[in-house]
């Protein structure tokens, strides 16, 4: 099993390299280290959200409210910043994570305690969160000149050659890797998604585990909300519209099974990077915008088809003797 996953990440990694090589034949400057660093930084929000979504998908759920959560948190912290410009960036980040956690736990609560299917819950909260942005902002934009310099500068500050936003993504990948592979909660995600009935017998609370997954996804969406608004220096109702589908796509491309229980941190990261490379390459390779959509879509379908092939369960012979006895 581990071998299969490893080889699958290797395949995806190979595909990304091949993609970059193809792009560089059309636009050589794409492979310049500074440009690749730029593309990685641009992909950081997708990586962070894909990790949260991965935890949710592992437990056989889905979180469609991440982009709306991001937008609402972004709007709240942007408004907070205009009202209280003295708040330092770390405080803003804590507030953003806290807000995201609240929204994530709303999703988790309905899934856990009310037993409502996650797709229905998050479709509803997604609408509600976007609606709340209207209510609090009155439809107004928060623009670059209304935001404090500190607020905008933090994710852009360069540390050891990379912007802080990239470092945050790297730190979260590392933390998530530890969480998934080294903690009981991480194992519980797989157990709950792989076989919920069996998970109950091993003493795992299925609903609670799903709640934790939604909580994590919400916290990461909140964090990304601040990073997004600070980076693009604008907050309005529609920011990151449709981004939730891109996040789910990154997970699917990364080999996280929509049926739950299968996936890895490396896969989610590579899936996000794969989409990030495509998104950053399309503007420079001079392709018609109509083809751009078709290309992004095809990449997803090919990845899913590939997953369906490799994930087909082969069945396992557990009683060799019995098999040969007849």
């Amino acid at each position: 099993m581990t071998l299969l996953l490893k080889s699958r990440e290797a395949v995806l990694f190979g595909a990304i390299i091949a993609l970059i090589v193809v792009i560089s034949t059309r636009f050589p400057a794409f492979v310049a280290p500074s440009n690749l660093a730029n593309a990685f930084n641009d992909t950081a929000p997708l990586i962070i959200l894909a990790l949260g979504q991965m935890a949710v998908i592992l437990t056989r759920c889905i979180d469609l409210s991440v982009a709306a959560n991001l937008a609402l948190t972004g709007m709240v912290v942007a408004m907070l910043n205009t009202a209280a410009p003295w708040l330092p960036a770390p405080a803003i980040i804590m507030i953003a994570i806290g807000l995201g956690a609240v929204m994530g736990s709303i999703n988790g609560f309905f899934v856990w305690k009310m037993r409502i299917p996650p797709i229905v819950v998050t479709l509803g909260t997604m609408t509600i969160f976007r609606g709340v942005i209207f209510l609090i902002s009155g439809g107004e934009w928060i623009n670059a000149h209304e935001m404090g310099e500190n607020f905008k500068a933090f994710p852009r500050a360069i540390v050891l050659g990379l912007p802080v936003m990239s470092w945050i993504a790297i730190a979260i990948v590392a933390l998530f890797y530890l969480l998934i592979t080294r903690t009981p909660v991480g194992r519980a995600f797989f157990a709950v998604g792989g076989n919920p009935d069996a998970a109950v017998y091993t003493g795992i609370n299925v609903g609670r585990t799903q709640f934790i997954a939604f909580l994590l996804s919400g916290m990461l969406a909140g964090l990304t909300g601040y990073l997004w608004v600070a980076r693009y220096a604008v907050a309005y109702v529609d920011i990151a519209a449709g981004f939730e589908l891109e996040v789910v796509a990154a997970c699917v491309i990364g080999g996280i099974s929509i049926a739950g229980g299968i996936g890895s941190v490396g896969g989610a990261v590579l899936g996000a990077v794969f989409l990030g490379v495509i998104k950053n390459a399309l503007p420079v390779v001079n392709i018609s915008p109509f083809w751009q959509l078709a290309i992004s879509g095809s990449a997803i379908i090919i990845a899913v088809a590939f997953n369906a092939q490799t994930q087909r369960s082969k069945g396992r012979v557990i009683l060799k003797k019995a098999e040969h006895a007849t």
Binding site: R130, G131, N143, A144, V234, V284
Partner: protein
């Protein structure tokens, strides 16, 4: 997604219904915008309210979908037909997709006009352009040329590749670019009116064309995103971002030097004029016919061409000298 849109749309329409107690002799004019929450349309709504106050017996229903889709607008229009409003003034997300719904409205005796972004002639009685398309096309390239005495490479960052008005302006711009011989338009890219995609496209332009001197973005989301991308790239002052934007959204970027100047018509005037026209048509005080003219209050009158379309006024240029006067208005 579509379930979500329906929910949002019916919620917004329901809100509009609750907020509007029906008065028997009042003319109810619906202002349907591309999407709620866009500063430009909020300002137009203010102008519509101003016209309503001036006219006295008019009630404005300001509504629209929550994202810029034709499907969302069709839902809104169908709800308005059910409410039996007197007039619908729409800024369309799609030139053709709205036609059947609007035809249905006209069949029920509702006055239908389009403004800002038009619908095909069979789907409306008249169309009010904020300015004339040739004037805007000329204006956006002139804005770039004014700050490039020695000429240079410029690129266009548009909204979506199917956006009606952006495409028309770019077409008109291409017609007159011969008048600016030093200006070399190297590319047209599409940011889909999403901040992140527009930002990425602007970055792509600067990478692909290292000698780029200006980015023309005839869209309010695109111009802000491009200005931010130019600032982040450390090229403020080197690459001039210009086009069409809102003073409140561009104030910071004019101050930083990323944008030297940009233009926009006055959306307050536009909402005002659309309301006046809708009122005059709904009350039979004027008729929409080729060559005819319709009064629009303090904005004078609009003269219609052979497709029943007319222009309100010239776009207005904003730069560091006047932006502070306007940034708090819209």
């Amino acid at each position: 997604m579509s379930i979500l849109k329906k929910l949002l749309v019916s919620a917004s329409v329901a809100a509009a219904l609750i907020a509007s107690p029906a008065a028997a002799d009042e003319k109810r004019i619906a202002i349907v915008v591309k999407a709620l929450g866009i500063g430009f349309f909020e300002a137009a709504a203010k102008g519509a309210e101003e016209a309503a106050a001036e006219l006295g017996d008019v009630e404005i229903i300001y509504t629209g979908p929550t994202d810029t889709t034709a499907e969302g607008q069709i839902e809104v229009i169908n709800s308005l037909i059910a409410q039996k409003v007197d007039a619908i003034a729409v800024s369309a997300n799609d030139q053709d997709a709205l036609v059947p719904a609007l035809k249905k409205a006209m069949d029920r005796g509702i006055t239908v006009i389009s403004w800002d972004s038009g619908v095909a002639p069979e789907g409306r009685q008249m169309h009010l352009n904020p300015s004339s398309n040739p004037l805007i096309g000329n204006m956006i390239i002139k804005l770039a040329a004014d700050h490039l005495p020695d000429g240079g490479d410029v690129a266009v960052l548009s909204a979506s590749a199917t956006a009606t008005n952006q495409n028309t302006w770019i077409e008109e711009m291409n017609k007159v670019k011969g008048n600016y011989p030093n200006i070399n338009v190297v590319a047209t890219v599409y940011g889909d009116d999403l901040a992140d995609k527009s930002y990425r496209e602007a970055q792509g332009l600067m990478k692909t064309y290292p000698d780029l001197k200006a980015i023309i973005a005839p869209t309010s989301v695109g111009i802000v995103a491009a200005a931010q991308a130019v600032t982040d790239e450390g090229k403020a002052g080197e690459v001039n971002v210009t086009g069409l934007g809102l003073p409140s959204e561009m104030a910071g970027h004019v101050a930083s030097g990323a944008s030297k100047s940009f233009a926009i018509w006055n959306p307050i005037d536009l909402g005002y004029a659309a309301t006046m026209i809708a009122y005059n048509l709904a009350t039979d005080q004027a008729e929409a016919k080729p060559g005819g003219s319709i009064p629009m209050g303090r904005m004078g009158e609009v003269v219609l061409d052979e497709t029943n379309a007319g222009a309100m006024a010239d776009p207005f240029v904003y730069d560091s000298s006047n932006i502070d006067d306007f940034k708090d208005i819209f």
